[in-house]
Chain length 381, copies 2
């Protein structure tokens, strides 16, 4: 039996840590996750660290240095905003291979100032990194195309931000815990139509960690709080194109999610909650359709219905999402998985999705004209 | 049966490629390795790319973009000079897990000018990256300590460079194919005693790739030219120390090699050839002892004996090594494995180690006070 379980999961409060290194943040998250699992670093067979901007500094080893060096294999993973899901997936594969019983996947990041989210960052976005468009412009364009095709309104995009900021008022580890009413979201500084400042994700420092174990080890620890990895998929762009964000977004996420659903033997109708990559408010609506939560062109109606809010049919980003919890690039993918684990255990406090048994975590990463999407489907053991 | 085989292996000529991107170099090596395996990119289930300085730009996806995008999982790995071995090992684990039948591990790098090898680079080494010492200084110190302890002479260190430069005259893909007599090595510019310029590795651009397959796929392709991965180990520093290069070198390499020997069920006496991390001439002698090729303090006598030269008992770095073939950081670990594969197949031309059946590839990577060592043991199938 080669099932893999998550037995430890935690994150630090996302925010600004000018006086701490990325490795120190990663070490804190790792210790929290190990403590959550009732294990210590001496039990860990290998450590995978995601850090898009700090992988080259051997952040995995630096994290281990903070905690206590044991000589275990350390792997440093970079994959733009999909790095966290990539590191988690490599840890999953390492356990599945039979080489290790206990593996840690941690994401830790301090982002370069001005990176990605123009709206909330301190400086101009590094346009050169992204070719013809900045991230806000690319995701704005995707919204414009959706709007032209299906009549999606700016108000519908803005409602994503209202919802996710509301969710984050129940998440003490989110960067912000503050309601943002619709008129406030609509009236905030225009970054790239239809995206206002409050519809862009928050550029923060952060770290999140998970402990993955073999079936044998999970039984030894007791399956009570364990969560099973039912589906794990990573995809790159599936065709020769630099066709812009909408088509790339569609293709790479759809490929990953189709693979994950097939591996898990489930469909979107089976999910109880979703954490998806709401780097911008437009992205969340596009991903409703990419993930199969609604039909083509129905994302506007889905946000209007309230079904994706806490208490609805399929709550999305109850953590507050990248929009309000924050988006520490390499850590985001691990944090999305941590949120799902908390709900499947029934330990999500005020924002608990009642009776959650199956959840999906998604991230999307872009480089210059290429991308990555990671999808994990987790189930209460 | 979860054995993993290498069925394709090749590299581009190491050198300077001012007009090409790292991804273009990586794509060329990948196509060479696929061609060698009789496979094409459509057969590949996942792609692992090592590039210490280019992982953040999603080089794996950029390589796939050059060749033809298929949507497969792309993982970008960074681990200082051990990145290549790390990516190969992740590919090995991915095949071993049963998730994929065919996986590519590629290393591709264009190094920042002045990186690592002060002697042969265009600018000053970035001392800030390495704390108190530059790489030449750290490895010089290791030589000085060895010398003080065991009486190892500067001439013995220099002989490593003479040997490896001689080997590279038989390797058309090495950066240099030029004999360097002992007096020339000894008389070249002093970088950090006992290391002269010709005893420092060559800072080059390069790429190398391997194709790993499952036992099932290897049988389908025919085992004639296949090479089996018998041992695969990655280690980080095993104790809480920032004790400097000698102790770290010893500890991290010794931990990795002990793990690899145990996994393979062999010892150093069973090896027919070794490619080890001769980033500096001093390092090769230290690694003779670290890898168990001789006893403690006997490395000087071993190089004097000629046993580690082509035709000797246990040839080391018959490719020319990092000293003369060149050291494109993230690609080096894959290139060392490619060299072993060529010999086990009997396809190494003028530098063929006669009757080679078992070989070992080693790399060592350093960050600020932390490190990684990767060791792979390969066998003729």
């Amino acid at each position: 039996m080669s099932d893999v379980y998550v037995v430890g999961a935690d994150l630090i409060k996302f925010g600004r840590y000018p006086d701490r290194t990325p490795a120190q943040l990663g070490a804190e998250a790792t210790l929290l996750a190990l403590d959550d699992a009732g294990l210590n670093i001496g039990d860990v067979g290998a450590l995978y660290a995601a850090s898009t901007f700090n992988a080259a500094s051997m952040i995995a080893q630096q994290i281990l240095f903070q905690i206590g060096q044991t000589g275990i294999p350390c792997v440093n993973v970079s994959n733009a905003c999909a790095a966290g899901a990539t590191a988690f997936r490599e840890a999953f594969i390492a356990v599945k291979s039979g080489l290790y019983d206990v593996v840690v996947a941690v994401g830790a990041e301090k982002n370069p100032a001005g990176m990605l989210s123009a709206g909330n960052s301190e400086g101009p976005p590094p346009e050169g990194l992204f070719g013809s468009g900045t991230m806000p412009a690319l995701f704005a364009e995707a919204g414009v195309i959706h709007s032209a095709k299906y009549g999606t309104t700016m108000e519908q995009f803005a409602k994503v931000s209202v919802k996710n900021h509301h969710h984050s008022t129940m998440n003490p580890k989110a960067m912000y815990q503050k309601e943002t009413p619709l008129d406030e979201v609509m009236a905030s500084e225009m970054i790239a139509w239809p995206l206002t400042k409050l519809m862009c994700s928050v550029n923060v420092d952060g770290a999140a960690a998970t402990v993955l174990v073999s079936a044998r080890k999970a039984k030894e620890l007791g399956l009570g709080r364990a969560v099973r990895v039912r589906g794990s998929a990573l995809a790159s762009d599936p065709w020769e194109s630099r066709n812009g964000v909408l088509m790339n977004t569609n293709s790479v996420t759809r490929l990953a999610v189709a693979t994950a659903y097939e591996m898990a033997g489930v469909g979107p109708e089976d999910l109880n909650l979703v954490e998806l990559h709401d780097c911008f408010a437009t992205a969340e609506l596009l991903h409703y359709e990419n993930l199969g939560l609604c039909g083509e062109g129905e994302a506007g109606a889905l946000i209007d219905s309230g079904d994706t809010a806490l208490g609805g049919r399929i709550p999305v980003n109850v953590s507050g999402g990248l929009l309000s919890k924050g988006h520490p690039i390499g850590a985001t993918g691990v944090a999305n998985i941590v949120e799902i684990v908390m709900h499947l255990r029934g330990e999500a406090g005020a924002r608990q999705v009642a009776g959650a048994r199956l959840g999906l975590a998604h991230v999307l990463g872009f480089g210059v004209g290429v991308g990555a999407a990671g999808v994990h489907i987790l189930e209460k053991a």
